[in-house]
């Protein structure tokens, strides 16, 4: 019965929304006083009832422990790449001759879900010399502004920019 499974999925996603907003509320308050918990529970329930369907499309993904392991790896890679990109851009900014060679290139990705594409685009923006400009989700193309264009072709650019992150994003979000 498609109707029943649809309702079940909606309820799941509301529960996930409730727990995520309640966790953020508790961290922001940082006190386990009963008044704080009561208000937090009420507000999180209202948020979950109103916005529960929008927050996540596939709520069951939140219960896979393997994804969390990959997510920690993702954060470590992300922090390192973010640091490298800052050194790179800062050196370009401070260089007297301004060594930039900019252009917009096109890359192909195999990610399909909205969450996966969003996080891939964020990752691209915060990694060395690249900034995502637009995304074409139907065909899986991303348009990327690159501060130092090394390859203009579709395959070469995809290989240099996203091949590494794509695999991790796929494990975490798809």
């Amino acid at each position: 019965m498609p109707g029943a499974s649809w309702g079940f999925k909606k309820m799941y996603s509301k529960v996930v929304t409730f727990f995520v907003s309640f966790l953020i509320w508790t961290l922001l308050c940082f006190s386990l006083d009963w008044q704080h918990i009561l208000i937090g529970g009420l507000v999180s329930s209202v948020v979950a009832l109103m916005m529960g369907d929008m927050f996540t499309d596939y709520p069951k993904k939140w219960f896979h422990p393997r994804r969390y392991g990959w997510f920690i790896y993702y954060i470590l890679v992300f922090a390192w790449e973010c640091f490298k990109s800052n050194i790179d851009v800062a050196s370009r900014v401070l260089h007297p001759r301004l060594p930039i060679n900019p252009g917009i290139v096109k890359v192909k990705t195999c990610l399909k879900t909205e969450t996966g594409l969003t996080f891939l685009a964020n990752f691209i923006t915060l990694t060395p010399g690249t900034l995502s400009v637009d995304v074409d989700p139907e065909n899986g193309y991303l348009y990327i502004h690159w501060i130092d264009v090394k390859a203009q072709g579709l395959e070469e650019a995809s290989k240099i920019i996203i091949s590494k992150f794509e695999k991790i994003s796929k494990e975490v979000f798809e």
Binding site: V89, A90, V93, P102, N122, L126, L131
Partner: protein, 111 residues
Amino acid sequence: MNETIALIFIVVGITFDLFGCIGLVRMPDIYNRLQASTKCVTLGTCGILFGVLIKFGFSAAGVKALLCIIFLLLTAPVSAHALARATHRSGVKLWDKSVCDKYKDDKDALS
């Protein structure tokens, strides 16, 4: 000891914020300016907040700083993305010495 490490993080963060501002002035067009400002300012601000986290530990203020880092990392690239897309759609040209513009080529091919 904790004080020293926190101060080092805060000073490095402020330095990167400064580099971001210099990049904003020196770069030739809006896309390169977005690159400089997004990257350097994101890491710089995260560095300052991380210094606050180290100074206060996992107390009320420290955890708020940690949450700020997470929300900053989620929202800063999205705003840069929206700005770049809106700029390109409203017809702002790339810098003269830019190498290629595949986005414009594809849009011209469609229309």
